[in-house]
């Protein structure tokens, strides 16, 4: 029997593109209530892993289960996903998008979304076409974090926004996920997020080289995650 606290289980997960292995035999179990950093240099398989968990790409071999089920209608309803790209069409207004999310996701909190929009000075009546790239990313993040999901998958949520907004967004992420939910956040900007992480996963050329809690790293290695990362992935 699978245990109650196993939110995400990857077993032997492998994905090859042509001849190259983007992800190689990954075994990973995540429980609830954890803030996990998925760290690795560009092309190490971070996005591949997140897309596999979402069912947007299919594994070459191995399985992925979220909340006890393979990717499908149920997993989509418990995962709140922020992709590494814009997935919004240009012609909608921000308010149309909120209608869209409210229609499809029962856990979408419109009041929360409106509050966040206001604090970032984004008008709900703006058309997405008129928004800058960074603002669009903020809108997507707000929509993602306004859901009360079990698992948040955030692919590079802070890479595209200015450092001033970064702190606000991190705090937004931190204060908007419920206690039993988990966040899996991929990034290479480690210093910015280190303070909020419970666990880290290091990916190198599609292989998981480390999965430990941040406290253990500090105790055993006697250094910060950022320093360890620079050591492990030194060129």
């Amino acid at each position: 029997m699978e245990q109650r606290n196993e939110l995400l289980v990857c077993a032997g997960l492998t994905k090859t593109y042509g001849g190259t292995k983007a992800l190689d035999n990954l075994n990973l179990t995540l429980g609830g209530g954890r803030f996990v950093g998925l760290l690795g240099p560009n092309g190490s398989g971070k996005t591949t892993l997140i897309k596999l968990i979402n069912g947007l790409i299919q594994p070459t071999s191995g399985t992925v289960q979220v909340d006890g089920q393979v990717p499908g209608v149920h997993t989509h309803s418990v995962i709140s996903y922020l992709p590494d790209r814009g997935y919004l069409n240009d012609w909608m207004r921000v308010s149309d998008l909120m209608d869209f999310f409210a229609d499809f996701y029962a856990d979408f909190d419109r009041v929360k979304a409106n509050d966040m929009l206001q604090s970032l000075h984004i008008s709900a009546l703006d058309r997405l076409k008129t928004l800058s790239k960074g603002t669009k990313e903020k809108v997507q993040l707000i929509l993602t974090m306004s859901r009360k999901a079990k698992l948040y998958l955030l692919d590079e949520p802070i890479a595209g926004v200015d450092p001033a907004a970064r702190d606000y967004i991190l705090n937004t992420i931190l204060y908007n996920y419920s206690e039993d939910a988990s966040v899996l956040l991929s990034t290479h900007l480690i210093a910015d997020i280190e303070r909020v992480l419970d666990e880290v996963i290091f990916l190198k050329n599609g292989v998981m080289t480390l999965h430990e809690s941040v406290d253990t790293i500090r105790e055993e290695h006697g250094k910060s995650v950022d320093m360890l990362f620079r050591e492990v992935f030194a060129c």
Partner: protein, 268 residues
Amino acid sequence: MLKLLKYEWKACARVFLPLYGVVLLMSVINALMTTDSAQNFMNGIPSVILALLFVALLVAVFVVTVVILIQRFYQNLLGDEGYLMFTLPVTVAQHILSKMIVAVAVCLLSGLVALVSIAIIGADTNLIFGIGMMLNEFGKAIAADPNGLGYMIEGILLLLVSLASGVLFIYLCMALGHLAKKHRVLMSVVWYFVLSTAAQFLFTFVMFGTMSGPMETLMTALGSALNGMPQQVLLHGVLIGFCVATAIPGAICYFVTHYILKNRLNLE
């Protein structure tokens, strides 16, 4: 499902409603230009230009219908927007069917708008009177022979089924193209030509098959058996037979597309 339909309709209506509006407006303007004084104005150059514009618009409606049908499926599901659509808690079947239903509706509307706009240009009292007469006769015919209504329903059903099958065929080509690692758009086009040629070949083959050899005797036997049947029954049979014959390839396209999107989805 209803929600998907709602957003799909919104996305299409945004393009089509203004286009339909312009077409109908142009047909009204053209209709006004048919008066003698307007025809002779500036040697009739403006009226000719307007007429040409109208024809161009009709062609545009046809082209835009096909383009939007393809674009809604490709961009919304297989492009970047797929990241949003395929992470919604809905089934793949709901995605395909909602797109198909709206696409069929848009095809019907485009055809209807084209007919109405042409009717507006040709409209005079005789035509309106004529249409009234026709509808009246039609009503009488249906009242006299209930089979008429049946034929009509079967005809409409046949139209819907063939439109749906056509749309699903195009979806299948895009889904097959999506299986390629590179050049997915090009591969979709290649699949389109390969499959439509194959379908034509198959059709011809079946046709020849029924007209020669052992099939011929079977068909003759079938023909003589049907000869005894009343004409009405025969016509119903033919219409329903056509419906089924068109629905089968459509259903195959649907199931293959569904399998690909469910089990072989690989968004770039």
